[in-house]
């Protein structure tokens, strides 16, 4: 934290706000995952942390290292791009698997497979 001592206070305040907002988003996603009722409601909550929370924390990290190093440090963008691409894919795969499991068990709340319309 030695290089952080001579950081201008407004930039430090921006970094702090981004960091706290991102961590708060992650916490809200976790609370939602614990408190929501059914699985199909619960699956939405953690994406709050892995999209907006991730973006805010990575923004604060980019700002922090760019200011302390005195040059533009953008390697966090690698994680941001990768997570933005993979979060919807993994969530969709999980929900499809859950759908298949519920159908296999004959859960009445899950709609049956839609018949393919012939052209």
């Amino acid at each position: 934290m030695n290089a952080a001592a001579d950081m201008p206070t407004p930039i430090a305040a921006i970094i702090c706000v981004c960091l706290l907002a991102g961590a708060f988003m992650a916490l809200m996603g976790a609370v939602g995952l614990v408190r929501l009722q059914s699985f199909y409601q619960r699956v939405h909550a953690p994406t709050l942390g892995s999209s907006m929370g991730m973006a805010l924390i990575l923004t604060s990290s980019i700002l922090f290292f760019s200011v302390t190093r005195g040059q533009l440090v953008l390697h966090e963008m690698l994680i941001a791009v990768f997570l933005t691409l993979t979060t919807p894919i993994s969530l969709m795969l999980i929900v499809r698997a859950a759908f298949a499991r519920d159908r296999r068990e004959g859960d009445p709340n899950v709609p049956p497979v839609e018949p393919v319309q012939p052209d």
Partner: protein, 93 residues
């Protein structure tokens, strides 16, 4: 001034992320079904990765960044493997 501000903010963010990881762990242990556990694990590794990023900001080193990339890659792979397993009962078809 700004160093103390940053230290306080990073500590608070780390506490919030650890609390989030505790809640994910609760959901992972409690279930009730396997897909809940997989969703909780998926969110758990993202939170752990964010915690590593805040740790890197606290120590001022970019060493933790490589660990974050590896966690992101392996976490995605494991989530895909888990959901394939839940779907069919086997990972490689």
């Amino acid at each position: 001034m700004s160093a103390a501000l940053l230290l306080a903010a990073i500590t608070a963010a780390q506490l919030m992320l650890v609390a989030a990881m505790g809640l994910y762990l609760f959901r992972m242990v409690r279930g009730p079904r396997a897909q809940d556990r997989v969703v909780a694990l998926d969110a758990f590794y993202v939170s752990g990765m964010l915690l590593l990023i805040t740790l890197g900001m606290r120590t001022g080193s970019t060493l933790y960044f490589e660990a974050c990339v590896i966690i992101a890659l392996l976490g995605f792979g494991s989530t895909v493997a888990f959901s394939k397993f839940l779907m069919r009962g086997e990972v490689v078809e």
